[in-house]
Amino acid sequence: MLSGIRRYLIRKTFVYVLTFFSAVTIDWLIPRLMPGNPISIMMSRFASLPEASKYMYSYFMESFGLDKPLWVQYINFWKAVLHGDLGISTYMYPKPVADIIKDALPYDIAILLPAITLSWIVGNWLGAIAGKNKKLDSFLMPVFYFLTASPYFWFAIVLAYILGAKLDLLPISGAYSYGIMPSLSLEFIVDFLKHWILPFLSLFLVMLGGWAIGMRNMIIYEVEADYVRYLEALGASEKTLMKHAFRNAILPQVTGLALQLGTMVAGALTTEIVFSYPGIGYILMQGILNQDYFLIQGCFLVIVISVLVANFIIDLLYAVIDPRVRFSFTEGE
């Protein structure tokens, strides 16, 4: 049995490593295949005398190693990455990409982690309710659909308008008041939470719709499954039936969660822009617009790694919560 799990892990690990390398390579290559170069764009931001710009251009091309052939750059890239060096940003020159990400990432985590997990939990819960209660279903389902059908940022705009601008209940910009110093004090935490609510809510609600619908459909399938019929025939109560059905219905949702992480990180981008929330999204966006190879690479590396890690964790988790995975790899077939 143990060897089964080990085999499963080896297989998964191999796939992950391969995926990682390919994904990162693609992300490395694509910006470089595009016209233009980061140093040129860097120059556009320097209001200086033409003479001075010329000097700087050649200096930076050399110092960023962009004058070398592509394959050398590629090798250097991996060498650096394996040393934990993500290079220096051209857009936010001379800040190391690693630092940029380190500073921005906590905000993404603060918004995305709760939004994803809570929307997943609440969505599944609501979906299960809708799935078993036909009356509620006919009322809830359109709402879920409307939620998933809304573009993230539009929803954010509407929320900002109603709750932020019109009713003036919540601040609509930044991660905390511009005048407060981050600290572990009650005031700051309250202030932080106030700023956090709107971006969180807009992501949360839109994501929630999707999960709820997925769960609803899964539940409807599951309550028709043989084992539920059996339980029912043996006089189990509605509650027990739902308990069993829910447990099995949630499994595909777990996989869905892992697979959808990448998409959701991107979805956060527009929301961050609407609320000037200082996450990685806006920075990545700027990096792309400024052809900041190093920043793009770094952000991608982080996103890919976190998606892969999350996937891996979920895979492991899956093997734990779904005995089918565990044993299908021990017995054969």
Binding site: L49, A52, S53, Y93, D168, S173, P278
Partner: protein, 592 residues
Amino acid sequence: YAQAEELPRNETLYVGGGLWSPPTNFNPLNPSPVTGTVGLLYETLFTYDPLKDQLKPWLAEEGKWINDNTYEVKLREDLKWQDGKPLTAEDVKFTFEIARKHKGVFFSNIWSWLKEVKVVDDRTVDFVFSDPHYTEWNYWLYMIPIIPKHIWEKIDNPVDYANNENPVGSGMYKLYKTDQMRCIWVRNDNWWGIKYFGKPAPKYIVYVIVYSNNVALTMLVKGDLDWSNFFIPGVPDVKSKYKIVTWYDKPPYHLSANLALLFLNDNKTPFNNPDFRRAIAYAINPKEIAQRASQNQVLPADPSGLLPLPSHQKIKAEDLIKKYGWSYDPEKANEILDKLGYKDVNGDGFREYPDGKPMRFTIIVPYGWTDWMEMARIISDQLAAVGIRVDPKFPDFGKYWDDITKGTFDMAINNFGSFISITPWTFYNWILDPNVAPTGEPTYGGNWGRYKNPEVAELLTEIARTKTLEEAKPLYRKLQEIWLKEVPYIPLIYNGAWYEASPAHWTNWPSEKNPYAYPITWHNYWQLGGALVLLKIKPVTAGGGATTPAKTTESAKGSTTPSPTSKDKGLCGPAALVALSLVPIVLYRRRR
């Protein structure tokens, strides 16, 4: 459980508009560090006041040419760094020397005409030139920040040094804290300048990062933002309601900051024909552009393109403009074009080349720069009215920049190097610098259309070497004459020095009526006036001790939402729409 540190509102100034990404770079040798690095933290020898067109001593007490090749700067007494060490002539010398060694320093090209920097005594430095560019030198005098030798001499590569941990400058503010959303400066109470200039009023300056100007507007009207250098659409609409201060109370509301021009590719037929260019100039109506695209927050440009600020106005030759200039006159444009043989032969409403081939151009503007996009569309319309077909195109900035720098465009709008400076020479040098790479290779001047005229080249070098304005004036006249006759590019509008201030917490803002400073906080503009504003504004509530953190803007809350329509109407509209849209869903529910 700790007490949160909240900056006292009445001692804190909230500023925005010059910071677009988390503050990371405080290296003054770098061409684009965080705004305030030069001006608040590091200081220049001189400052420049564009309103009065004066070079004012700052770190320097005075500076003068002691002979044709040597400029001597005398530093003020008791200059000191923020760490208490004295600021001496050695530091000045060091600052310049560093640029000699490191080509990445933004002023390193000076060394192509500077020979050496000599320390005469602690307070005196001599700059010895091999080829003195007198005019250009004036520019550098207020652009080059002086850095402390005792710190920077230990740094290996001063070009990519971020300098974001306790940077030591000489300025009136110290770097206090940075995070993802702002950069906070704290007053340097030991500033050497207090005895010369007084003490700046705000204890803290919070320079905020706001990604979108709608947020800036909200903050401004709520009183959360005191000083904004954002271009904020709609400011005229809400200005009176919220008592927002702008420079002028009437259009254009703002001072001018730079010039947006229509660049023509002077290498391409038919743009290589000055008459053709002139026809285009006649066909374009900058007034309409200013009104439509920029909501009248800017001024239309006159043919000379010289900014409505003293340094430019001083050399402006009105008579030449009258004589050779142009104004919106489509008839005239038609006349010229007809004469040149560009006629509409096939009757499609657009002119063809004399040989009958269809004539069609594009005008490029970066995508997402909505006011410029609108400008491009208006130009396209205006040119269509005289039968020239121009399709507006909106590539992304990267591509736009690639086309512009490589000269592979027909028409483009740009303004990058046309900023106000002590001398119109920077402007002319930027836009007419003949020393450009051939089409297809990037150039980083501003002569995007590759306009070439040997006479201009000569004039530019000569002007750079003139010692006084009087000496330069005839040369400028000649330049203007060429400009007006040849029409290399067409001035469109004077982009504004966007400035909106809230009187909720700070007063005595500069304005047309109280024009004590040029109120811009963008990078490199602190020396032009931003720093002065800090010295002059006053808190509304003079709370000396200010131990109680003033809760933010209780007063401003309530009915602070900017809305021209009445409150309930504003809410009812969307509510009605949402309700309407829910009808099918509700109906659908009913039927089951």
